[in-house]
Symmetry: C2
Subunit: 232 residues, 2 copies
Amino acid sequence: MSGTLYGLGVGPGDPDLLTLKAHRLITRAGTIAYPAPDHGESFARAIVARHIPEGAREIPIVIPMRTERFPAQDVYDAAATEIATALEAGEDVVVLCEGDPFFYGSFMYLHARLAERFVVEIVPGVSSLGAVTAAARLPLIARQDVLTVLPATLPDAVLEERLAGTDAAAIMKIGRHLPRLRALLERLGMAERAVYVSHASLPQQVTCPLAQAPEVAPYFSMIVVPGKDAHV
Amino acid sequence: MSGTLYGLGVGPGDPDLLTLKAHRLITRAGTIAYPAPDHGESFARAIVARHIPEGAREIPIVIPMRTERFPAQDVYDAAATEIATALEAGEDVVVLCEGDPFFYGSFMYLHARLAERFVVEIVPGVSSLGAVTAAARLPLIARQDVLTVLPATLPDAVLEERLAGTDAAAIMKIGRHLPRLRALLERLGMAERAVYVSHASLPQQVTCPLAQAPEVAPYFSMIVVPGKDAHV
């Protein structure tokens, strides 16, 4: 009998925001896979490092920096093959994923390759969105509020069309896009309510009004605009 | 010195989806408040019941059924007063909240009344959205996908305007609105991709294509439409 593939959300960064379920699965894991940069530490692994059992087999999925936004399909092909071999041998495989696996999560690339052939269990995690609003102590949506979640990489015209008329907004993965996003939100009259957060839940976390945000933001940053009903 | 007010996300229902941080705060809590119906058990309390210490003081915030959608402001006024008295006496108060506190969470009504006077810490939780997509094993958003989150209680015209042109959608708290939402999604050509989930992460969880959903859905149910990039 084949093993089970676990897509495990490990939360936004604070190791304490791991769920009890993810904690238990990691402490019992025989094989653990995770995305890793070509230089330096895997963020997903670092979040749970203290719980990884001695002797567990680790499968780092090394994503070259240059393809960060459009992950090299061949990297995921190779990782899927290695994981499939373990599953076919009857081993369970735990795949770590920052935040929540199905909310812009890297696990989806493996899911697309393996879900039809193996039993998959998804363990949801605290998303970056929850971490950001908690960090900023910013009620996001209540009652009749509509929330729109957008990647910062979309062109201005698309962002503007989707932002116009929404109550609340979350723009993800800001990076070098900050100046144009600020200009866009000013044009839409949303800049004053907007809050900037980077590295939510981590020691280096920054939260401030958008007007005070740095010109160049890190990749792990977000702009959030609260809804109209969220301050009742 | 006044105590700290903790707004604690306890996740979508599965007690195992509590975070390590929420678990620790509950096991050490002296005073715990939570929303409760006028008849029956508090859902937020039930999720963490096994961790509540003997002798902890409990403050149920009883929300009459008839005002479920527009919570009686006087109920929250009274609860805020009781909690403020405890905080002023130097006690920490932990407020339990289903899902994530700032994602349509009931904690916001207390936050609005107490955040300016007391130190507040928010502990984000696994949201119903993460639980629903995990339950349905449905990758939600990837890469350039835009997600729109909407309460089912909005009028058709507003829902239609916000759904048109989005990649992914999550419609929350379906209840009696299911037939009109199904008709709306059919009109927009989104019905075929749509998935219905109720009671995500709980033993009575149901997931099925929208076409097979029951005519009358429970309050804790959602319709999700995955984004265009989420199956890569």
